[in-house]
Symmetry: C2
Subunit: 197 residues, 2 copies
DNA sequence: GGGTAAATCGTAACAGTGTTTCGGATGTTT
DNA sequence: AAACATCCGAAACACTGTTACGATTTACCC
């Protein structure tokens, strides 16, 4: 038999952690196969065995980012007012972008890429979407919103995603106060339009 | 004296046209200095003399994209109902993004960290912003909407981007009718939330 | 006209990238 | 100890952004 394998799932996790660190420390441009391998104490071919290609590394970062965002949203507890829960979700969403700008850049950098129909990509954001959709459903059940649940949920998710992408590209305004106000104004307007107070 | 210069503004325009074609045909990853130079019948150093560096080429595409979007929106004529004008603008915006996903990707993602879209978009997107904010202002003047025009415009644009991202990821619904309805429902809810009837 | 000088162009080079090959190292088995 | 199967990473390959520099072309001057 051969010698013991070191290119294991454990090494994959170490590489992914190193990749996230490189991206957050030096930006996505600094993420190269050689640097990543060195940072994790291995060699470039290991990266290719474990991730396929460089796009695979970026894809893994993309997944990890949405997983972390989903976890952050999951920490929020449901309150009395489902509408305020939705606002709180949006605020947490925004805080994530502010705290991890480089990671958010990777997550929102391919806005309309004519991706190959990648079901995995949509799976990445499933937890995030689920959280928002759940709050919408509760608001509908409480009579605070009206309309088709799926339509309302899609609209809310789209607006939050659009605001996140805009802020991540620094396109939502120059002053922090203006950006924050725009999140609030936009979200409350949409909720009001769906019958919310 | 020297020989006649060929790296003129005219060549710059030919290069820019070739760059747009490459991006739309093969994606932004296929845009390399050598390919671009070959496509325009010149050599790589010409690209660097006329655009500075590769980021300069991308920046030029960014500007050209907003000019084209501004022209597309400019073709729409004002109607009687400012709210319907806004809906029509959104639909045209949507069509642009879906018809030219690669170009839209360059325009609405942050291609380079050193390239801050905020001030650049101020210059490039002037016509676009003018068109949307103008329609919002008319709606405000007609008493059909309420709020800060810039805030309202940003909210509309964010929603449009979010819906476009969802649609191009095939996440907005399976049937064309459902997708269409969701665009309409979401947009009209937002306008309603801003005081539109 | 011939020679000089200036200015332009594109070839070729440099460093660094993603990616793959392959020879040597490693451990197991007989 | 010898044979063997397997794994790893140094090195190679094609390509990238970018730049230095020699070849080439033109205008001018004597």
């Amino acid at each position: 038999m051969p010698k013991a394998k070191t290119r294991t799932p454990a090494l994959r996790e170490r590489l992914l952690a190193a990749a996230l660190e490189i991206v957050e420390r030096d930006g996505v441009a600094a993420l190269t196969a050689r640097r990543l391998a060195a940072e994790a104490g291995t060699s470039p071919p290991a990266v290719y065995e474990l991730f396929g290609d460089k796009a695979g590394v970026v894809r893994a970062i993309f997944f990890a980012g949405f997983a972390q965002l989903g976890a952050a949203l999951g920490e929020l507890r449901d309150g009395e007012d489902p509408l305020e829960d939705l606002v709180a979700l949006a605020q947490r969403y925004r805080r994530f972008i502010l705290e991890r700008p480089a990671l958010a850049g990777v997550m929102f950098s391919r806005p309309f890429a004519s991706f190959d129909p990648a079901p995995a990509e949509t799976a990445a954001g499933a937890a995030v979407r689920e959280r928002i959709v759940g709050a919408v459903r509760r608001a509908l059940a409480a009579g605070r919103l009206h309309g088709d649940p799926t339509d309302v949920a899609h609209a809310c998710v789209a607006l939050v995603h659009g605001l996140a992408a805009a802020e991540s590209a620094r396109r939502l305004g120059s002053s922090a106060a203006a950006v924050e106000r725009r999140w609030d104004v936009a979200l409350r307007a949409l909720l009001r339009g769906f019958g919310g107070g």
